[in-house]
Protein backbone atom coordinates (compact mmCIF):
# COMPACT_ATOMS: atom_id res chain seq x y z
CA UNK A 1 0.00 0.00 0.00
CA UNK A 2 1.51 3.35 -1.04
CA UNK A 3 2.16 6.15 1.41
CA UNK A 4 -0.56 8.25 -0.23
CA UNK A 5 -3.13 5.46 0.14
CA UNK A 6 -2.10 4.97 3.77
CA UNK A 7 -2.58 8.68 4.43
CA UNK A 8 -6.05 8.48 2.87
CA UNK A 9 -6.96 5.51 5.09
CA UNK A 10 -5.62 7.29 8.18
CA UNK A 11 -7.48 10.54 7.44
CA UNK A 12 -10.79 8.99 6.35
CA UNK A 13 -10.78 6.71 9.38
CA UNK A 14 -9.98 9.63 11.67
CA UNK A 15 -12.73 11.87 10.28
CA UNK A 16 -15.21 9.00 10.55
CA UNK A 17 -14.30 8.27 14.16
CA UNK A 18 -14.53 11.98 15.02
CA UNK A 19 -18.00 12.24 13.47
CA UNK A 20 -19.14 9.23 15.53
CA UNK A 21 -18.00 11.06 18.68
CA UNK A 22 -19.65 14.31 17.61
CA UNK A 23 -22.90 12.51 16.78
CA UNK A 24 -23.20 11.34 20.39
CA UNK A 25 -23.03 14.90 21.72
CA UNK A 26 -25.46 16.10 19.05
CA UNK A 27 -28.28 13.59 18.44
CA UNK A 28 -31.32 13.16 20.69
CA UNK A 29 -30.61 10.43 23.25
CA UNK A 30 -33.69 8.46 22.18
CA UNK A 31 -32.09 7.71 18.80
CA UNK A 32 -29.26 5.79 20.39
CA UNK A 33 -30.78 4.47 23.59
CA UNK A 34 -32.77 1.63 22.05
CA UNK A 35 -32.17 -1.78 23.66
CA UNK A 36 -31.13 -3.39 20.36
CA UNK A 37 -28.61 -0.66 19.56
CA UNK A 38 -27.07 -0.46 23.04
CA UNK A 39 -26.76 -4.25 23.09
CA UNK A 40 -25.08 -4.28 19.71
CA UNK A 41 -22.64 -1.58 20.81
CA UNK A 42 -21.91 -3.40 24.07
CA UNK A 43 -20.91 -6.62 22.35
CA UNK A 44 -19.44 -5.53 19.00
CA UNK A 45 -16.05 -4.78 20.62
CA UNK A 46 -15.80 -8.34 22.00
CA UNK A 47 -16.44 -9.86 18.55
CA UNK A 48 -14.12 -7.45 16.78
CA UNK A 49 -11.25 -7.70 19.26
CA UNK A 50 -11.48 -11.50 19.35
CA UNK A 51 -11.46 -11.63 15.54
CA UNK A 52 -8.38 -9.40 15.55
CA UNK A 53 -6.66 -11.56 18.20
CA UNK A 54 -7.25 -14.66 16.07
CA UNK A 55 -6.18 -13.08 12.78
CA UNK A 56 -3.11 -11.39 14.24
CA UNK A 57 -2.03 -14.61 15.96
CA UNK A 58 -2.24 -17.13 13.11
CA UNK A 59 -3.14 -15.48 9.78
CA UNK A 60 -0.42 -14.60 7.29
CA UNK A 61 -2.17 -13.19 4.24
CA UNK A 62 -4.68 -15.92 3.41
CA UNK A 63 -2.72 -18.73 5.08
CA UNK A 64 -2.96 -19.88 8.67
CA UNK A 65 0.53 -20.17 10.17
CA UNK A 66 1.56 -21.41 13.61
CA UNK A 67 4.66 -19.55 14.82
CA UNK A 68 5.98 -17.52 17.74
CA UNK A 69 2.89 -15.28 17.68
CA UNK A 70 0.63 -18.11 18.87
CA UNK A 71 3.12 -19.11 21.57
CA UNK A 72 3.30 -15.47 22.67
CA UNK A 73 -0.49 -15.28 22.76
CA UNK A 74 -0.72 -18.38 24.96
CA UNK A 75 1.79 -16.90 27.39
CA UNK A 76 -0.12 -13.60 27.34
CA UNK A 77 -3.37 -15.42 28.20
CA UNK A 78 -1.74 -17.08 31.20
CA UNK A 79 -0.30 -13.74 32.33
CA UNK A 80 -3.70 -12.04 31.97
CA UNK A 81 -5.38 -14.84 33.93
CA UNK A 82 -2.83 -14.20 36.70
CA UNK A 83 -3.76 -10.48 36.54
CA UNK A 84 -0.35 -9.34 35.35
CA UNK A 85 -0.13 -5.65 34.39
CA UNK A 86 -0.43 -4.72 30.70
CA UNK A 87 3.26 -4.04 30.20
CA UNK A 88 4.25 -7.38 31.74
CA UNK A 89 1.81 -9.19 29.43
CA UNK A 90 3.34 -7.51 26.37
CA UNK A 91 6.94 -8.10 27.45
CA UNK A 92 6.27 -11.80 28.12
CA UNK A 93 4.50 -12.23 24.77
CA UNK A 94 7.32 -10.44 22.95
CA UNK A 95 10.03 -12.45 24.71
CA UNK A 96 8.22 -15.68 23.79
CA UNK A 97 7.93 -14.61 20.15
CA UNK A 98 11.63 -13.73 20.04
CA UNK A 99 12.61 -17.01 21.70
CA UNK A 100 10.60 -19.08 19.21
CA UNK A 101 12.18 -17.10 16.36
CA UNK A 102 15.71 -17.72 17.68
CA UNK A 103 15.16 -21.44 18.39
CA UNK A 104 13.19 -22.42 15.28
CA UNK A 105 14.05 -19.56 12.95
Amino acid sequence: MSSGTLWTVVLVGSVGCYLLKLAGLSVPAAWVERPWITRLITFVPAALLAALVAVQAVASGQDLVVDGRLAGLAVAAVALALRAPFIVVLVLAGATGALVHVVWG
Binding site: C17, K21, L22, V44, A46, A51, L64, G97
Partner: protein, 228 residues
Protein backbone atom coordinates in the same frame (compact mmCIF):
# COMPACT_ATOMS: atom_id res chain seq x y z
CA UNK B 1 -16.65 22.35 45.18
CA UNK B 2 -14.55 20.75 47.96
CA UNK B 3 -10.79 20.61 47.40
CA UNK B 4 -10.30 16.89 48.27
CA UNK B 5 -12.84 15.90 45.61
CA UNK B 6 -11.00 18.03 43.04
CA UNK B 7 -7.70 16.43 44.03
CA UNK B 8 -9.18 12.95 43.71
CA UNK B 9 -10.54 13.73 40.24
CA UNK B 10 -7.18 15.13 39.09
CA UNK B 11 -5.28 12.18 40.59
CA UNK B 12 -7.50 9.71 38.71
CA UNK B 13 -7.12 11.70 35.49
CA UNK B 14 -3.32 11.74 35.70
CA UNK B 15 -3.18 8.07 36.76
CA UNK B 16 -5.20 7.10 33.69
CA UNK B 17 -2.98 9.26 31.50
CA UNK B 18 0.12 7.41 32.66
CA UNK B 19 -1.56 4.01 32.22
CA UNK B 20 -2.66 4.69 28.63
CA UNK B 21 0.87 5.87 27.89
CA UNK B 22 1.96 2.23 27.90
CA UNK B 23 -0.72 1.42 25.34
CA UNK B 24 0.57 4.36 23.29
CA UNK B 25 3.99 2.74 22.93
CA UNK B 26 2.31 -0.53 21.92
CA UNK B 27 0.15 1.33 19.37
CA UNK B 28 3.16 3.12 17.86
CA UNK B 29 4.96 -0.21 17.53
CA UNK B 30 1.89 -1.91 16.02
CA UNK B 31 1.49 0.92 13.51
CA UNK B 32 5.12 0.51 12.48
CA UNK B 33 4.66 -3.25 12.12
CA UNK B 34 1.66 -2.57 9.86
CA UNK B 35 3.76 -0.40 7.53
CA UNK B 36 2.74 3.08 8.69
CA UNK B 37 5.51 5.64 9.02
CA UNK B 38 5.92 7.42 12.38
CA UNK B 39 4.05 10.52 11.13
CA UNK B 40 1.07 8.47 10.04
CA UNK B 41 1.06 6.76 13.44
CA UNK B 42 1.21 10.15 15.16
CA UNK B 43 -1.51 11.58 12.88
CA UNK B 44 -3.79 8.74 13.99
CA UNK B 45 -3.21 9.48 17.67
CA UNK B 46 -3.70 13.22 17.08
CA UNK B 47 -6.77 12.99 14.83
CA UNK B 48 -8.50 9.66 15.50
CA UNK B 49 -7.64 9.60 19.22
CA UNK B 50 -9.58 6.50 20.21
CA UNK B 51 -7.25 3.63 21.08
CA UNK B 52 -9.22 0.53 20.17
CA UNK B 53 -10.16 1.95 16.74
CA UNK B 54 -6.54 2.87 16.09
CA UNK B 55 -5.38 -0.63 17.02
CA UNK B 56 -8.09 -2.12 14.80
CA UNK B 57 -7.13 -0.02 11.79
CA UNK B 58 -3.44 -0.90 11.94
CA UNK B 59 -4.30 -4.50 12.88
CA UNK B 60 -6.26 -4.99 9.66
CA UNK B 61 -3.58 -3.27 7.58
CA UNK B 62 -0.92 -5.38 9.30
CA UNK B 63 -2.82 -8.55 8.36
CA UNK B 64 -2.59 -7.43 4.72
CA UNK B 65 -6.12 -6.02 4.61
CA UNK B 66 -7.38 -3.25 2.34
CA UNK B 67 -8.20 0.31 3.30
CA UNK B 68 -11.97 -0.16 3.36
CA UNK B 69 -11.80 -3.11 5.77
CA UNK B 70 -9.35 -1.21 7.98
CA UNK B 71 -11.56 1.89 8.11
CA UNK B 72 -14.64 -0.30 8.65
CA UNK B 73 -13.13 -1.98 11.72
CA UNK B 74 -12.09 1.38 13.18
CA UNK B 75 -15.61 2.76 12.69
CA UNK B 76 -17.26 -0.34 14.20
CA UNK B 77 -15.25 0.18 17.38
CA UNK B 78 -15.79 3.94 17.18
CA UNK B 79 -19.57 3.54 17.61
CA UNK B 80 -18.92 3.13 21.35
CA UNK B 81 -17.98 6.78 21.50
CA UNK B 82 -21.38 7.78 20.10
CA UNK B 83 -23.07 6.17 23.09
CA UNK B 84 -20.58 7.84 25.42
CA UNK B 85 -21.42 11.19 23.85
CA UNK B 86 -25.10 10.65 24.58
CA UNK B 87 -24.26 10.00 28.24
CA UNK B 88 -21.86 12.94 28.43
CA UNK B 89 -24.03 15.56 26.70
CA UNK B 90 -26.07 16.48 29.81
CA UNK B 91 -22.95 16.46 32.03
CA UNK B 92 -20.79 18.60 29.77
CA UNK B 93 -23.68 20.70 28.44
CA UNK B 94 -21.51 22.22 25.69
CA UNK B 95 -22.59 25.79 24.92
CA UNK B 96 -22.13 26.72 21.29
CA UNK B 97 -20.97 24.79 18.25
CA UNK B 98 -17.24 25.43 18.71
CA UNK B 99 -17.15 24.04 22.25
CA UNK B 100 -19.13 21.01 21.17
CA UNK B 101 -16.73 20.41 18.26
CA UNK B 102 -13.79 20.64 20.66
CA UNK B 103 -15.22 18.48 23.44
CA UNK B 104 -16.26 15.78 20.97
CA UNK B 105 -12.63 15.01 20.13
CA UNK B 106 -11.95 13.83 23.69
CA UNK B 107 -15.02 11.57 24.02
CA UNK B 108 -13.34 8.19 24.69
CA UNK B 109 -13.57 5.28 27.17
CA UNK B 110 -11.36 6.87 29.84
CA UNK B 111 -12.78 10.42 29.80
CA UNK B 112 -16.32 9.02 29.92
CA UNK B 113 -15.42 6.84 32.89
CA UNK B 114 -13.91 9.85 34.70
CA UNK B 115 -16.89 12.12 34.00
CA UNK B 116 -19.55 9.56 34.87
CA UNK B 117 -17.78 8.58 38.11
CA UNK B 118 -17.51 12.18 39.35
CA UNK B 119 -19.96 13.16 42.12
CA UNK B 120 -21.35 16.33 40.48
CA UNK B 121 -21.49 18.16 37.15
CA UNK B 122 -18.63 20.53 37.87
CA UNK B 123 -16.33 17.66 38.80
CA UNK B 124 -17.56 15.63 35.83
CA UNK B 125 -16.44 18.48 33.56
CA UNK B 126 -13.14 18.74 35.40
CA UNK B 127 -12.54 14.99 35.18
CA UNK B 128 -13.37 15.00 31.48
CA UNK B 129 -11.09 17.94 30.67
CA UNK B 130 -8.19 16.95 32.95
CA UNK B 131 -8.37 13.33 31.77
CA UNK B 132 -8.72 14.38 28.13
CA UNK B 133 -5.74 16.75 28.28
CA UNK B 134 -3.48 14.31 30.15
CA UNK B 135 -4.34 11.32 27.99
CA UNK B 136 -4.10 13.33 24.76
CA UNK B 137 -0.61 14.59 25.64
CA UNK B 138 0.72 11.24 26.90
CA UNK B 139 -0.90 9.12 24.19
CA UNK B 140 0.58 11.21 21.37
CA UNK B 141 4.05 11.38 22.92
CA UNK B 142 4.20 7.63 23.57
CA UNK B 143 2.81 6.82 20.11
CA UNK B 144 5.77 8.62 18.57
CA UNK B 145 8.20 6.84 20.93
CA UNK B 146 6.74 3.44 19.97
CA UNK B 147 6.72 4.20 16.24
CA UNK B 148 10.28 5.53 16.14
CA UNK B 149 11.59 2.80 18.46
CA UNK B 150 10.02 -0.05 16.48
CA UNK B 151 11.52 1.28 13.23
CA UNK B 152 15.03 0.68 14.58
CA UNK B 153 14.48 -3.00 15.45
CA UNK B 154 16.33 -6.00 14.04
CA UNK B 155 14.83 -9.31 12.88
CA UNK B 156 14.53 -11.01 16.28
CA UNK B 157 13.04 -7.87 17.82
CA UNK B 158 10.60 -7.76 14.88
CA UNK B 159 9.53 -11.32 15.73
CA UNK B 160 9.00 -10.15 19.30
CA UNK B 161 6.87 -7.26 18.06
CA UNK B 162 4.80 -9.62 15.87
CA UNK B 163 3.97 -11.58 19.03
CA UNK B 164 3.18 -8.41 21.00
CA UNK B 165 0.39 -7.26 18.64
CA UNK B 166 -2.06 -10.16 19.18
CA UNK B 167 -1.23 -10.07 22.90
CA UNK B 168 -2.15 -6.37 22.97
CA UNK B 169 -5.54 -7.14 21.39
CA UNK B 170 -6.07 -9.93 23.91
CA UNK B 171 -5.28 -7.50 26.74
CA UNK B 172 -7.90 -5.09 25.36
CA UNK B 173 -10.43 -7.92 25.09
CA UNK B 174 -9.75 -9.57 28.46
CA UNK B 175 -11.57 -7.12 30.78
CA UNK B 176 -14.76 -7.60 28.72
CA UNK B 177 -14.75 -11.36 29.36
CA UNK B 178 -13.82 -11.40 33.02
CA UNK B 179 -16.36 -11.90 35.80
CA UNK B 180 -17.69 -8.46 36.75
CA UNK B 181 -17.88 -7.24 33.15
CA UNK B 182 -21.26 -6.59 31.55
CA UNK B 183 -22.79 -10.08 30.91
CA UNK B 184 -19.41 -11.84 30.64
CA UNK B 185 -20.98 -15.14 29.53
CA UNK B 186 -22.55 -13.45 26.48
CA UNK B 187 -19.33 -11.55 25.78
CA UNK B 188 -17.37 -14.83 25.85
CA UNK B 189 -19.74 -16.48 23.36
CA UNK B 190 -19.60 -13.41 21.14
CA UNK B 191 -15.78 -13.34 21.31
CA UNK B 192 -15.49 -17.04 20.50
CA UNK B 193 -17.92 -16.59 17.60
CA UNK B 194 -15.95 -13.64 16.23
CA UNK B 195 -12.63 -15.50 16.41
CA UNK B 196 -13.98 -18.71 14.85
CA UNK B 197 -15.76 -16.96 11.98
CA UNK B 198 -12.70 -14.78 11.25
CA UNK B 199 -10.36 -17.79 11.12
CA UNK B 200 -12.80 -19.86 9.05
CA UNK B 201 -13.06 -17.05 6.47
CA UNK B 202 -9.34 -16.24 6.33
CA UNK B 203 -8.44 -18.60 3.44
CA UNK B 204 -11.42 -17.48 1.32
CA UNK B 205 -11.75 -13.69 1.54
CA UNK B 206 -9.26 -10.82 1.14
CA UNK B 207 -7.23 -10.15 4.29
CA UNK B 208 -9.03 -7.83 6.69
CA UNK B 209 -12.49 -8.51 5.26
CA UNK B 210 -12.83 -11.57 7.52
CA UNK B 211 -12.60 -9.33 10.60
CA UNK B 212 -15.48 -7.06 9.59
CA UNK B 213 -17.52 -10.01 8.28
CA UNK B 214 -17.04 -11.89 11.55
CA UNK B 215 -18.47 -8.96 13.50
CA UNK B 216 -21.46 -8.61 11.19
CA UNK B 217 -22.12 -12.38 11.32
CA UNK B 218 -22.03 -12.45 15.11
CA UNK B 219 -24.25 -9.36 15.33
CA UNK B 220 -26.80 -10.95 12.97
CA UNK B 221 -26.71 -14.20 14.96
CA UNK B 222 -27.63 -12.23 18.08
CA UNK B 223 -30.31 -10.01 16.53
CA UNK B 224 -33.64 -9.74 18.32
CA UNK B 225 -36.08 -12.30 16.88
CA UNK B 226 -39.20 -10.99 18.54
CA UNK B 227 -40.43 -7.54 19.40
CA UNK B 228 -38.56 -6.50 22.55
Amino acid sequence: MPAPARTAVLRDAIGLGVAVGLYGVAFGAAADAAGLDPWQALAMSLLMFTGASQFALVGVLGAGGGGAAAIGSALLLGTRNTVYGVRLAPLLAPRGLLRRLGLAHWVIDETTALAVAAPDRGLARLGFLAGGATIYAVWNATTLVGALGAGALGETAQAALDAVVPAAFLALLWPRLRAGAEEPAVARRVALGGAVVALALTPFVPAGVQVVTAVVAVALAGRPREAA
